[in-house]
Amino acid sequence: MSDALVETLHSSLLELDQPKTVAAARAICSGDGEPSAEQAVQALAAALEIVGQRFQQEDWFLGELVYAGEIAKQAMEILTPHLSALATQSSGTLVVGTVAGDMHDLGKDIFITYARSAGFEIIDLGVNVSAERFVEATQVHRPLALGISCLLTICAGGIPQVIEALAERRLRDGLRVIVGGAALTAEFAAEAGADAFAPDAVTGTRVIEKWSGV
């Protein structure tokens, strides 16, 4: 019975069945601790992994990606209060924003949803973020990594500017930088001095998970 609940949580997320996913999460929380909230979170993570594969293999598109992320977020909100102190420990903090001059935020927001579901704490600086603000937030929050989104070719030059500004303040060492968005390529990211480029939000989440060692 109990395993069946975890199984339901997993499969109903993949069926994009929001009521069923949420009901399964509630049932797990109001149960006798078997299965545990931790097991449920693992099941959600495994399901999101599959969502990511479906998106990468072009089976699913933005609608499914966003909706699955939204359902997972709701389920996480139900499960989180029931997690042990150890399990609620954040996988790390990320500072995320869209580069100066650019106001596209859809891709950035999708990345944030997935990174949050993976247990990261996100400081969202929003759109049109200057190098100065990235630097300030890095000083204040000491994040594991910085995530920068860019959709406009004309604004891509803002990315090496952020990285240079970080280096000038001696904040670059030990900090990782991941970039994404339709205007960028892996080559550009490497040239700009970023540590990684993510073609999509799910790949990006995998990369930062690797960095945090979870």
């Binding site: 072009e58 089976d59 699913w60 598109f61 933005l62 609608g63 499914e64 966003v66 100066a100 001059g101 650019d102 106001m103 596209h104 935020d105 859809l106 927001d109 759109v127 049109n128 406009l152 070719t153 004309i154 604004c155």
Partner: protein, 506 residues
């Protein structure tokens, strides 16, 4: 080889010598005649009147034209071949357009004027008789700035480089200057004074032509504080035109919505309509205007180049060799290739047709996924659509339909209630409206959707002829038009994501 034959074009009075058997479409296209449906005999937009000579009436013509029209000499240029000497009148060049605008105060006055549609890719100019309203000459050219980038964003990037702004301004001013001189030379009385020149174009073309600061257009907030009316003397632009006319670039509507859309508002009489109507320019920027005599909202949706065949793996412009039409036939897909030869790629209208047909045949699911689980859909032996091509179309279509929905919601209405939906832009005039509707680009009722032709040029003419527009500032009209920046619209994300899906089975 037979002797060449002569075609005389009225009202230009121009003579052209062509090989017998040449298609009239090929000949007239070079003279600026537009073929709204791509020369498929569907729209009747290329109507010509035979004043002398003979042209066979093919079945598609008989379908579009009535018996009495045929009797009077009307033909569709796209379906005619030249066999002997002809004298023709081109309807597009006639005053008919002006008389459609009952409310327009057409005040005949002596003299001649010029209108220019400054497009990102193409320039079109017309010389007009201000007394009769007739087109005296037409001239077309490519925008020479294209060597510095195909789209407006790459032009802006170029203009931000040292010397770039000057270079782009010089390129376009010189080209139009030469184009106008060539146009005057092609018409009788080349030395007769020109009274006025009206130029329209998108906001980036406006700024680059007028040599204005583009910082605020190139980066957030993507504003255009200087998009008001710009006036020059011909000398200032280095143009040698008789009569030293004033040259006016009409004002834009805010953000990336330019004078070409203001012209579109005039051309569709949106500003005089009792009911709410909408105009969509189906280009890369996907501008939309919607409203009525009281209030008009406009926006740009940044659809991307998919409708022009851009970012599509085997995409191409709508030219010879492009699959421009796809329909279901014998359980498969049948393609029509422009020019009739071997397919070299697929253009926007072919892409939209192919997806619409495939949705009906359940080859593509409403979420855009190819139903057989593969990643490509063959259209012909050599040309196929990939799954990512369909995704690109979903983004472009999603942006436009989300923009339209949001504007109409702000006006307190929806597509169901829309009295008229005008499609502009090259692609807007090319695409099969039924297919566009099938993929969910819009949901307005089919009978209310209308391909509106080159509304930029038409609107520029109305501005030139209209009596009430003497100063061309359009202060009153502009005070009723509001630009809506979608980047800060709280609902855009959600609506856009929802609109990337195709409508379900119908």
């Amino acid at each position: 080889m037979r002797e060449p034959v002569e075609i005389e074009l009225q009202p230009l009075g121009q003579s052209i010598s062509v090989e017998p058997g040449t298609s009239l479409q090929d000949v007239l296209h070079g003279y600026g005649v537009e073929f709204p449906c791509g020369g498929n005999g569907r729209c009747g937009g290329c109507r010509i009147k035979l004043l002398a000579g003979t042209l066979a009436v093919t079945p598609p013509q008989a379908q579009i034209l009535s018996a009495s029209e045929i009797e009077q000499g009307w033909r569709l240029a796209c379906h005619c071949r030249v066999d002997g000497c002809l004298t023709l009148e081109v309807e597009q060049w006639d005053t008919a357009i002006l008389t459609h605008h009952a409310s327009l105060q057409f005040a005949p006055r002596p003299g001649r004027g010029i209108v220019v549609d400054l497009g990102t890719t193409t320039l079109v100019a017309q010389l007009l008789d201000l007394q009769s309203g007739r087109v005296l000459a037409v001239q077309k050219a490519r925008n020479p700035q294209a060597v510095r980038g195909a789209d407006v964003m790459s032009r802006l990037a170029r203009a931000l480089e040292p010397g770039g702004r000057q270079e782009l301004a010089d390129l376009i001013r010189n080209e139009i200057g030469a184009l106008l001189v060539g146009m005057l030379d092609s018409a009788p009385n080349a030395e007769k004074a020109i009274e006025s020149v009206v130029v329209v174009g998108n906001t980036v073309m406006h700024h680059l032509f007028c040599d204005l600061d583009i910082e605020s257009l190139a980066y957030s907030p993507f504003d255009s504080p200087n998009d008001g009316l710009q006036e020059f003397t011909a000398e200032q632009l280095g143009w040698r035109l008789p009569g030293s006319p004033r040259v006016r670039f009409l004002p834009g509507l805010g953000g990336f919505v330019g004078a070409d859309i203001l012209a579109g508002v005039l051309a569709t009489s949106m500003h005089e309509s009792d009911e709410v109507v909408a105009l969509i320019d189906l280009g890369t920027n996907g501008e939309i205007a919607a409203g009525n005599r009281e209030r008009i909202l406009c926006t740009s949706t940044a659809a991307g180049p998919a409708f022009e065949g851009g970012r599509i793996s085997q995409g191409m412009q709508a030219s010879t060799g492009a699959i421009a039409e796809v329909r279901a036939e014998g359980g498969g897909l049948a393609c029509h290739v422009i020019g009739g030869g071997k397919a070299r790629g697929v253009c926007g209208s072919g892409l939209v047709d192919a997806v619409a047909t495939s949705l009906d045949m359940r080859l593509i699911r409403p979420n855009g996924r190819l139903a057989d689980g593969s990643h490509s859909l063959p259209l012909t032996n050599d040309i196929c659509l990939t799954q990512s091509d369909i995704r690109e179309l979903q983004l472009a279509k999603g942006a436009i339909s989300a923009g339209l929905r949001i504007l109409l919601a702000r006006l307190g209405t929806d597509e169901e209630q829309l009295a008229k939906l005008y499609l502009a832009g090259a692609f807007g005039n090319y695409v099969n409206p039924a297919s566009a509707r099938r993929i969910g680009l819009f949901s307005a009722r089919a009978e209310r959707v209308e391909a509106a032709g080159n509304t930029a040029l038409l609107g520029a003419k109305l501005a030139l002829f209209g009596e009430g527009f003497a100063d061309m500032r359009f202060a009153d009209l502009l005070s009723r038009i509001e630009h809506v920046p979608l980047a800060t619209d709280a609902r855009f994300q959600e609506v856009f994501i929802a609109e990337t899906a195709f409508p379900g089975p119908q």
